[in-house]
């Protein structure tokens, strides 16, 4: 009986001591930003910015500059905070990002990734240890539940809609995907890449399926459509990239709406006028791309600042307008002054993940011209499982179409 009492006392004493140590600890120990899970545990925006500036570098991966205006996002981040951004293989794929995390040496690890949902599915799920460090941005509650991990390991950032792009000399100007079988378009239609390898091209086939009476569970009409295009000579199997367009190898293509601003600007330099339009017979919204912080990130504070930046809904200034005086502001004031990533995505033609909340709060800016969704059109968004099922068909049929 006495022993029990003594044990209880001892336990109580130890608990009191350890609790006071625990309370005392944070103020005496430095914040380990690699385990910080939100702005609060980071110690506030000022602390986060200071720590990120100290790290001085951010490793990103496969971010093309003209993809959802990532170029502006990177420029603004670097200009405002003075943090150098290193972009590994801007042209690479989601699979490449995950491969890099799995195999690259410590210094070459990306801090953050931006991957497609199907790639995400290969590293998440039962039995798989997480490769991401959980972090919940300040606007966490604005991200739709279906597009974020409850524990904060990953979260959707923006999505796009498949648009029809065509050279201004094409006549008649196409307005829907079904138009593409017009004999006037002989030798003009190309895809942006290989549908068995590139998400965008795969979803282009899906968009064709919707246009031809298919559905999110039936991609076959899309494959049949391209078979028709191939046999009547409208389809050219060239890579639908900028150089080949400039060389006149193709004139019509399908690609993400958020590629529009960059592609149009680049085409202009090559003396061509490129036009984008959302097809009236299929409004296919892709699943959002997914942001996550790498568990092996070499620059933990910078990574978290980047995420806060990407999910900021501020209307603020762009990189061109950042002044020397701005850079001297405190971290939180500077952060509040610059445009947030969500709006930068809008300027790139993409649909930011927080759009519903931003539209309500009127904090969303206007997107680029011409990419308006046709009134009354039904937005179709195949979910990852439906995409996986469709992929099997595409992989099996495309090479021998």
């Amino acid at each position: 009986m006495r022993a029990k009492r003594l044990v209880a006392l001892a336990v109580a004493a130890v608990s009191v001591v350890s609790m006071s140590v625990a309370v005392a600890a944070p103020s005496s120990a430095a914040t380990n930003f690699c385990t910080v899970t939100d702005l609060k545990t980071a110690g506030g925006m000022d602390a986060l910015v200071a720590a990120a500036k100290k790290e001085g570098t951010l490793n990103v991966i496969t971010l093309p500059r003209d993809w959802a205006n990532y170029g502006e996002a990177m420029d603004l981040f670097t200009k405002a905070f003075g943090i150098k951004i290193v972009d590994d293989n801007p042209d690479g794929s989601s699979a490449y990002e995950l491969q890099t995390i799995a195999t690259a040496p410590a210094a070459k690890q990306p801090d953050v990734v931006d991957i497609g949902v199907s790639a995400l599915n290969t590293v998440t799920g039962a039995g798989r240890p997480s490769i991401f460090a959980p972090y919940k941005v300040s606007t966490w509650n604005h991200i739709p539940n279906v597009w974020k991990d409850p524990a904060g390991a990953w979260y959707g950032d923006y999505s796009g809609i498949i648009a029809l792009s065509y050279d201004s000399t094409v006549s008649p100007a196409p307005t829907k995907i079904s138009d593409l079988t017009n004999p006037a378009y002989k030798g003009m239609v190309a895809l942006g890449g290989d549908p068995t390898a590139a998400q965008m091209s795969f979803l282009s086939v899906f968009a064709a399926a919707i246009a031809k009476g298919g559905s999110v569970t039936n991609i076959q009409p899309g494959l049949d459509f391209f078979k028709t295009l191939k046999s009547n000579g409208n389809f050219v199997a060239v890579n639908g990239n900028g150089e080949n367009y400039a060389a006149g190898a193709y004139k019509i293509s399908l690609s993400w709406n958020f590629n529009a601003p960059g592609a149009i600007a680049s085409a202009k330099k090559a003396g061509k006028t490129l036009k984008f339009v959302i097809p009236t017979d299929a409004v296919l919204q892709g699943t959002p791309y997914i942001q996550a912080i790498n568990k092996k990130a070499p620059h933990c504070a910078a990574a978290r600042l980047w995420e806060e930046f990407l999910y900021s809904e501020n209307k603020g200034i762009t990189s061109a307008k950042v002044t020397a005086a701005d850079k001297k502001l405190s971290g939180s004031k500077l952060f509040a002054k610059i445009m947030g990533g969500q709006n930068i995505f809008v300027s790139g033609g993409a649909t930011p993940i927080n759009a519903p909340a931003m539209i309500k709060a009127k904090s969303i800016i206007d997107g680029p011209e011409g990419l308006n969704i046709p009134k009354g059109a039904k937005i179709v968004q195949p979910n990852p499982d439906q995409q996986d099922a469709a992929k099997k068909l595409v992989v099996a049929q495309w090479p021998t179409l």
């Binding site: 093309p64 170029g71 042209d91 195999t103 150089e243 680049s266």
Partner: protein, 260 residues
């Protein structure tokens, strides 16, 4: 240089047709790169643009140093080996032929994945790992070129003469043999340089950033500039080759003449 018409006609025709075939694609993309669509004329705007890019010097330096190290590795490795092969290693010729041929027949993608999986960490953090891999890719051609060159000279006689005069093997190879096969060595060198500069698959799969990966990045911002850059990298090597070819006398001609 007077030849009888009959003798020179096949040569002339061959050079003409082959020359056309080689130059048409090159010329087309060169012409394309000289276009200035916003000004509606031709000029060097695109070239001026990429040369004035701040990263141009950096990437030229990176690719050039990788290429130089690659060429060095191959020469240091192959010249003594092929000399030895021709003098004393005849028995192992089929074996050497085989292993130097392998890189040609294996898809580059496979080598890249393999390198990624198998090479130790320290190798993967130093960009000169690329030089070693480029050397592997260039091996089939470099070996064959050097072998052909060494077979064309009286290697046995020369090396015995040099050794007889007191030179050790190192001096014999470096001071006697290599200068004689100068032309061949240059050929192998150019090829390695061209290959290293143009290599993309391994470079991007192993997350490195060289001239070719930079061209891909640039092509998103300025298609015309990227095209000019590609043309530049091809044409630069050719011009370099032409200049060297004009000024270096193939020293083996002396020896060959005596043979005939």
């Amino acid at each position: 240089m007077v030849f009888s018409k009959l003798k020179s006609l096949p040569l002339f025709l061959t050079l003409l047709i082959a020359g056309l075939f080689v130059l048409l694609p090159l010329g087309s993309s060169a012409e394309f790169s000289l276009r200035q669509p916003t000004k509606q004329n031709h000029g060097f705007d695109n070239y001026v643009w990429f040369i004035s890019q701040p990263e141009f010097g950096h990437y030229m330096g990176v690719s050039f140093s990788l290429a130089a190290v690659s060429a060095l590795i191959l020469l240091v490795l192959l010249v003594p080996t092929v000399v030895w092969l021709n003098l004393k290693g005849q028995k192992l010729r089929p074996f050497v032929d085989f292993i130097t041929l392998m890189p040609l027949v294996i898809p580059v993608v496979a080598l890249a994945i393999g390198a990624q999986n198998s090479l130790p960490e320290f190798a993967q953090t130093n960009q000169f790992i690329l030089s070693f891999l480029y050397a592997v890719l260039a091996m089939p051609y470099a070996y064959r070129t050097l072998d052909t060159g060494l077979k064309a000279i009286p290697l046995q006689t020369i090396s015995e003469a040099a050794r007889g005069l007191g030179a050790n093997w190192f001096r014999t190879i470096v001071r006697v043999i290599t200068p004689i096969i100068r032309g061949t060595v240059l050929s192998a060198l150019f090829m390695t340089l061209a290959l290293s500069f143009g290599e993309y698959t391994i470079t991007s799969l192993l997350h490195w950033d060289t001239f070719t990966t930079w061209v891909t990045v640039i092509s998103q911002a300025n298609v015309m500039g990227a095209i000019a850059l590609s043309v530049f990298s091809l044409v630069a090597i050719f011009i370099f080759l032409l200049l060297v070819g004009l000024f270096i006398k193939p020293a083996a001609s002396q020896v060959a003449k005596e043979e005939e």
